[in-house]
């Protein structure tokens, strides 16, 4: 009895400790991220005042905006002021859009999530089976094919692939819609609520918009999916190869287990690693889809941050980076948690 009590409080304490560690890690990561981004923004040889007022502004307008931005204060003070604002939930105003940055992100982030989710779905649904298959049939003709496909996905610039995709499937074959999230004709009839076109269309029963959006989404989604698939195939294949070379696999085969069961065994053991890979590739799509967003005129966060960085629009860059950073940290924590569920070792350690 006493032992179980002790055990209980032990695990509770461990749980609390983990939570504390996770939370402080989160806060520290975001703080570090803000600090580094802030510094980069100050080192970039761009004059943020010029970006706002333009080349032709009279001297007094320049001076006023310089003071408004707090640029006359020492760097550490500017940073502290910024932190103070952020702590109150105010990310400031973007100089490029004249909107509150939080509002901007609420408008741009859903577009990115749409792409990233589609890309990851395609990547996982195709990449995992192909990777496993390729490992099981190592060095067969099929394996070689899969590896070439993955290599191409890894090495061709997505920018080029996007344009070619548009040329073939949109301009020539007319199978899919062109760039943008929806056709211009729907631009002013869509009811906006969640920011996700798909959800908004479903909520309001605007099925033609729903279809039109899918038609717009499929090409960039498939492209990002291809990129993410290429990565997932490579990782799955190498994880599986590692497992299939282990002694327990040999033992299982000697014991006469069917090949299917053996592969399932091995696969279960790579699941934890695989989840981390998938989470990371999803996180990567959140901020790494800049070129796809450019080619497809997809108003997403990657494009927003890149544009803002070039213009030294620091409020926008900092807020954008924080959102991406937070997503990374959360996804990491999430995949760790999932990993614990699927990883046989951590499972046995707990029992």
């Amino acid at each position: 009895m006493r032992v179980t009590n002790w055990l209980k409080s032990q695990s509770l304490r461990a749980g609390i400790r983990t939570l504390c560690v996770q939370t402080s890690m989160f806060v520290l990561t975001i703080f570090g991220l803000l600090l580094v981004t802030f510094m980069i923004g100050r080192v970039v040889p761009v004059d943020p005042v010029l970006v706002i007022v333009g080349d032709r502004a009279p001297a007094e307008v320049y001076a006023r905006v310089y003071a408004e931005l707090g640029l006359d204060k020492p760097l550490y003070q500017q940073f502290l002021m910024y932190l103070y604002q952020v702590a109150q939930g105010d990310f400031g105003t973007s100089v490029l859009t004249s909107q509150n940055v939080a509002k901007d992100i609420a408008a741009f982030f859903p577009a990115t999530i749409e792409l990233a989710v589609t890309g990851t779905l395609v990547g996982v649904l195709l990449g995992v089976p192909l990777g496993v298959w390729s490992a099981v049939r190592k060095n067969s003709f099929l394996d070689q094919c899969v590896r070439v496909v993955a290599l191409i996905g890894y090495s061709i610039p997505i920018f080029w692939l996007g344009l070619v995709g548009l040329l073939v499937f949109y301009a020539k074959l007319d199978w899919v819609a062109g760039v943008g999230r929806i056709d211009a004709a729907y631009e002013y009839i869509i009811e906006r609520e969640t920011g996700f076109v798909l959800l908004d269309a479903m909520l309001h029963g605007q099925w033609d918009i729903f279809r039109n959006f899918l038609s717009h989404l499929i090409l960039p989604g498939a492209l990002l999916g291809y990129m993410s698939m290429a990565y997932i195939i490579r990782m799955t294949r190498s994880f599986m190869l590692e497992q299939l070379g282990q002694e327990y696999v040999v033992t299982a085969r000697v014991k006469g287990l069917s090949e299917r069961r053996v592969v399932m065994h091995a696969f279960r053991n790579v699941l934890a690693q695989l989840i981390t890979v998938i989470a990371l590739s999803f996180a990567y799509l959140l901020e790494g889809a800049v070129l796809t967003e450019t080619v497809f005129a997809w108003p997403g966060l990657g494009l927003y941050i890149t544009n803002s960085l070039f213009a030294a629009d620091m409020n926008a860059v900092l807020a954008g980076t924080t959102v991406i950073g937070a997503s990374f940290v959360l996804l990491n924590a999430f995949s760790d948690a999932l990993g614990t569920v699927f990883d046989p070792r951590t499972r046995s350690a707990r029992t």
Partner: protein, 532 residues
């Protein structure tokens, strides 16, 4: 196993949704709607007191009526916009403007001289970037109530500090800051003395051909026609400008009929569009010029012989006829149109340049950093120059930077040699002359950042001449002064004028009437129509 099954099911569902859903795209834009593809990520605000960017400049030209405007069929003719007629007093200090009758705001209110008074004063009080256009008339926060006054609903009286050339004053009234806003509507949204700025920067309250429905930053501007527009209701009910950053994507959309006009196609794409039977290429000459600035703080670049040698080392025609075809035209003076010089005395002549360099004391050449912005086609121009300069022994190190960085460096005299562009603020020659040939204070601390100052070109006499031209009331004499100045800049200055911008607008064959005009903010939408 369960996980796998679930995934399979999900996969099937997604595949079904995608296959079932992905019908073909709409074949064309609706007949009453115009969709224009353009790079519009420079729009920061739509408040006419602040707008000074390309993307927003032309939008507000169609949301508001300016006091003065240009005849869209002949942009050299300055005509009344909200102003029906005007009179200048004999001393040249007072302007009496009569406001056109029958103008109506989108709210239904009539536009009066009171609205004009409010709009002009508002620009001075808000003091955003383009305020200098009015400041140069001698208006400031303290005196604007005196200088800008509505006598009644119909009469607006403007006073100016000096007897400026009337064409200069009236041209200033054709700038974006001279847009008339609905004073009643804007006053309703004033907060803490902001003159309604925070409200108006994302909305419209004008009497222009269109009114703003939505502006989604870096995505789209949607406008709806104003049936009460004074030049007649616009032919198209809706006008949508979509942000398509990638020129190749613009071209694909245009070919497929998903947009009606594409604005940012590159030289290759323009050439390809000419042979497409569905498309039409319209060419408009702009007032924008491109030039090389030589910082005379550098000892070598202070030598006029070197300036001249450089002028013979550029393959103007070669570039204009190849990769700049349909994009830039050779132009070697700072003004364009009938105010500019026709003469183009310079062409590539390496031998002449070598001789000049030897006379200057550099027979073996030297090396220089050449600052260039990285959007196409600037790097191509820089490379061409690098090749031709090398023939005379001059090594140009290309420093390719983002546009914002180039501007910051050039504006602080941080360059040796820079490729720069100029876009006039309003369509009076003074705007440009002031930039190229006025440098009242050549010290590093100067608040005047004209091109002459940036290149440390100390020109007290020319500066005085520019100021004199501002006051010259005889148009012929004024024109002569600018010709003189242009000749000096052309032959004997550290600024090498090279090209004039040509805007090639590519549209679907059924679309007509769109006119970008010569300026950055002169585009006219109301006449655009589609004929099946």
């Amino acid at each position: 196993m369960n996980v796998m099954r679930w995934k399979q099911a999900l996969g099937a569902a997604v595949a079904a949704a995608v296959l079932g859903g992905a019908g073909p795209a709409l074949a064309a834009t609706p007949a009453d709607t115009l969709v224009m593809a353009r790079k519009i990520d420079d729009i920061k605000s739509l408040d006419p007191a602040e707008v000074f960017e390309w993307g927003s400049g032309e939008i507000i030209n169609n949301l508001y009526v300016r006091l003065m405007t240009y005849d869209p069929h002949d942009f050299s003719k300055l005509v009344g916009g909200a102003v029906a007629s005007w009179q200048v007093s004999d001393d040249g200090l007072t302007y009496e403007l009569k406001i056109r009758k029958g103008l109506k705001f989108q709210s239904g209110r009539p536009l009066t001289a009171r609205d004009a008074e409010y709009s002009l004063r508002r620009v001075i009080h808000l003091a955003k970037t383009p305020v200098f256009i009015f400041q140069q008339l001698g208006w400031n926060k303290d005196n604007v109530a005196e200088m800008v006054r509505a006598l009644d609903d119909e009469t607006l009286v403007l006073k100016v500090a000096k007897p400026y050339s009337p064409s200069l004053v009236m041209s200033c009234l054709s700038a974006g800051v001279a847009s008339v806003v609905d004073s009643e509507e804007v006053r309703k949204h004033e907060q803490d003395g902001d003159y309604g700025y925070n409200w108006l920067k994302t909305r419209s309250a004008g009497a222009g051909a269109y009114r703003l429905t939505t502006w989604k930053p870096k995505d789209a501007v949607v406008m709806e026609s104003n049936p009460d527009f004074y030049l007649g209701p616009p032919a198209l009910k809706r006008f949508i400008v979509r942000h398509i950053p990638e020129p190749s994507a613009q071209r694909l959309l245009l070919q497929a009929g998903d947009v009606d006009i594409a604005r940012d196609l590159g030289p290759d794409q323009i050439k390809a569009s000419r042979s497409n039977p569905d498309l039409r290429v319209d060419v408009f000459k702009k007032v924008n010029t491109y030039y090389v600035g030589l910082n005379t703080k550098n000892e070598i670049l202070a030598n006029p012989k070197v300036w001249e040698a450089f002028r013979w080392l550029i393959d103007y025609e070669g570039m204009a006829n190849s990769f700049l075809d349909g994009y830039f035209a050779v132009h070697q003076s700072f003004l364009t149109g009938d105010m500019g010089l026709e003469e183009k005395p310079y062409r590539l002549d390496v031998e002449k340049a070598k001789k000049l360099l030897a006379e200057a004391g550099y027979p073996n050449g030297f090396s220089l950093d050449f600052l260039v912005a990285n959007p196409s086609p600037f790097p191509d121009i820089a490379q061409s120059m690098q090749a031709t300069f090398a023939q005379a022994g001059i090594k140009l190190n290309l420093v390719l930077r983002d546009q914002a960085q180039v501007l910051a460096t050039y504006r602080s005299r941080g360059h040796e040699m820079a490729f720069a562009r100029w876009s006039p603020d309003y369509l009076d020659p003074h705007s440009t002359a002031e930039f190229f040939v006025r440098n009242p204070d050549n010290s590093d601390a100067s608040t005047n950042k004209s091109a002459a100052w940036r290149n440390a070109w100390d020109i007290p006499e020319l500066s005085a001449m520019t100021e004199k031209a501002m006051l010259e009331r005889d148009p012929e004499v004024r024109k002569q002064i600018y010709r003189e100045e242009q000749k000096v800049v052309q032959k004997d200055s550290p600024m090498i004028m090279m090209f004039q911008l040509i805007e090639s607008t590519v549209s679907r064959k059924d679309t007509s009437g769109f006119t970008p005009g010569p300026g950055f903010d002169t585009a006219v939408f109301w006449n655009t129509r589609k004929v099946k």
